[in-house]
């Protein structure tokens, strides 16, 4: 065990995986010698050589295209997209290629060795193009797995699972927590299973469902609600695709209420899928409508970022509205 921040945990996971798999490579813009603009890959080129960790030209569609081809050879690859906001030029390679590779070929070929890492989310004064949370731009795509860690410990264990999972995984790293989230992380190799949600805090009145950096706000809101005598159960979804519907449904059947929070705009965010599924699964247990406390339906703003974010106050008010329905 040692104290690490989320970035160091990611770096640890990559180092561990590359040590163990002699062909695994790791590439993206500025990830080589420099170690990436956030330094998630720092030291990897020195340790594993330029062939295995390197800068690419500045072209996201090429990074994922090349990664698809590399993975199709049966080799493990972790491709970095510098910011989640810049993943969209690679959208076709991900949605039409990565996700459909195995299916369309009848399993003659697959790109299961591919993991795409990218920092995402706001709270860093990044405005429109350094703040987006693009998970729901990908959750409509069968064939992908999507994973989001909430802290350093989770980041290492989930990233190791993602890298070794025989399916392509989009791994979204909450950049607001890169240095802010510090915790005890084992030096050893460990995995946290995918598609298993985590009940972070047990409670009986309402379930708060979130992932990534929103968990922190959910916890703060739960603490505020506790003072009013409201007992919140907090569930970290961890894997968004395919997601752990059983754990969520069990929690909602117990509490009778559900509030989902994410930072991305509310309309067609992943909260919509959760609400749609859970209202069907838990119809008779629900004592109030499922609430969504989410980002606004506007591009991510800069000066008014604080106003935009679905913070603990907004969640807390959402909890009260739901309790008082």
């Amino acid at each position: 065990m040692s104290k690490m921040n989320l970035l160091q945990a990611v770096n640890h996971a990559l180092t561990t995986a590359m040590e163990q798999d002699p062909h695994m490579v790791c590439f993206g813009e500025d990830v080589g010698h420099f170690g990436g603009v956030f330094r998630a890959t720092s030291g990897l080129q020195e340790k594993f050589g330029k062939d295995r960790c390197f800068n690419t030209p500045l072209v996201e569609q090429g990074i994922i295209g090349m990664a698809n081809g590399f993975a199709a050879s049966g080799t493990t690859v972790v491709a970095e997209i510098q910011f989640g906001d810049y993943i969209f030029p690679a959208y076709d390679q991900i949605v039409n290629e990565t996700a459909k590779f195995r299916y369309r070929s009848g399993n003659e070929f697959n790109v299961g060795g591919l993991t795409i890492r990218t920092p995402y989310g706001g709270g860093i004064a990044g405005g429109l193009y350094h703040s987006q949370s693009p998970e729901a731009n990908f959750t409509h795509t069968p064939g992908l797995k999507i994973v989001v860690p909430r802290n350093a410990y989770e980041a290492k264990g989930l990233l190791l699972s993602a890298i070794r999972d025989p399916n392509p995984v989009l791994f979204l790293e909450p950049k607001r927590l890169y240095r802010a989230s510090v915790g005890e992380v084992p030096e050893t190799d460990y995995e946290i299973p995918l598609t298993v949600a985590d009940v972070v805090q047990e409670g009986k009145d309402i379930t708060l469902l979130a992932w990534g950096a929103q968990i922190e706000y959910a916890e703060k809101a739960a603490a505020m609600a506790a003072k009013d005598g409201i007992s919140c159960e907090i569930v970290d979804l961890r894997t968004l695709l395919p997601w752990d519907r059983d754990t969520v449904a069990a929690s909602v059947n117990k509490t009778g209420r559900l509030l989902v929070t994410h930072e991305a705009p509310i309309t067609s965010g992943f909260g919509a899928e959760i609400a749609a599924t859970i209202q069907e699964r838990c119809f008779l247990s629900l004592e109030a409508p499922i609430a969504r406390v989410c980002g606004l339906d506007v591009p991510y703003p800069l000066a008014l970022e604080k106003e935009y974010i679905p913070d603990q106050y907004k969640i807390y008010e959402g909890i009260k509205r739901t309790m008082n329905f």
């Binding site: 062909h23 090429g62 081809g69 080799t75 195995r102 369309r104 009848g106």
Partner: protein, 394 residues
Amino acid sequence: MTEPKATSLAVHKLAFLDANALSIPVYQVLKQDGTLYKGAAKPDMDEATARRIYDNMVYIRVLDERMIAAQRQGRISFYMTCIGEEAAIIASAVAIDDQDMVFAQYREQGALRARGFTTEQFMNQNFSNEMDLGKGRQMPIHYGSNALHYMTISSPLATQIPQATGYAYAQKIRKTGQITICYFGEGAASEGDFHAGMNMAAVHGAPVIFFCRNNGYAISTPSDEQFKGDGIASRGVGYGMRTIRVDGNDTLAVYQATAEARRYALEHSKPVLIEAMTYRLGAHSTSDDPTGYRSKEEEAVWAMQDPVLRFKHWMVKNGWWSDEEEKAVYSKYRDDILSQLKVSEKIPAPQLEEMFTDVYDKMPQHLIEQYEALKAHVQQYPDVYPKTSGRLDA
């Protein structure tokens, strides 16, 4: 590096590089009558190789002819021929190693056949039946075979170009001794993925041959509405990539250029660009009718440059081929293909379950549930879903 490579070269008079500063010649060896151009070296091709190429050409001609007919008869839904481009495709495929990887666009069935894809495999794919390696999921002509190192075709254009770079990069660092060849049309070369794949191959030293079939059209769009440069070859220099333009209807030129490109790519771990000038003699696909956008005269000019005939003339001149052989081979392939067609069209579609497999390595819970629900539904309405209802286990 921080200085332009060319700083040493300075000029002090204002002069622009002309838009067509580079004129790239076409490498040609074989004339249409089967004789060699003056000055062309004696081709480095033995009889066995020549026969292999020609055999594949004939096979593909028969296959294309037969499948077009099958589509017209409504037996298959869609088809694409490679008529006119057989030399470019087959000679390049034979010039490399059979263990090399192929990433093709869709019109390269000749390359696949050269690797040994069987009539049965072709037919099962075109009929989307349960024996199709692709499990009946993609439209006809979207072939692929792991055993034959032939990547399954993907409809979105040019996506295979950066993928080929990535695959070749893996070959390089895994020291497999193999290279990758990547086929694409001059139309697909307009996509952003082309730029990405070419540039990255040069930067990362990927041993890949980029083989552009410049056949004059992208569906209805003629190449002069596709680009204004000197074809695709003129882009190679911009990427710092070794480049050659060949007469794509000239089997010997294509073969020599590709063999040399392979040697170079492997030895130096570098990409090479080949632009083969040719012509799509048929329609774009069975959904297309070229009379809407080009003239019969134009087609006729190119029909006179038939690459298969050109190569046959050379074979005959060498004493390696005769009209009797020709007749025999054509009739054998016609029989083979027709009889397999009759077999394949009767093979049932894949089982219902196959709609849900291969989305992931294992079927996750939500897909198991969707499968179970659909199975129950099909059982309830067996007549509505005749392809699968009869074959469900209770």
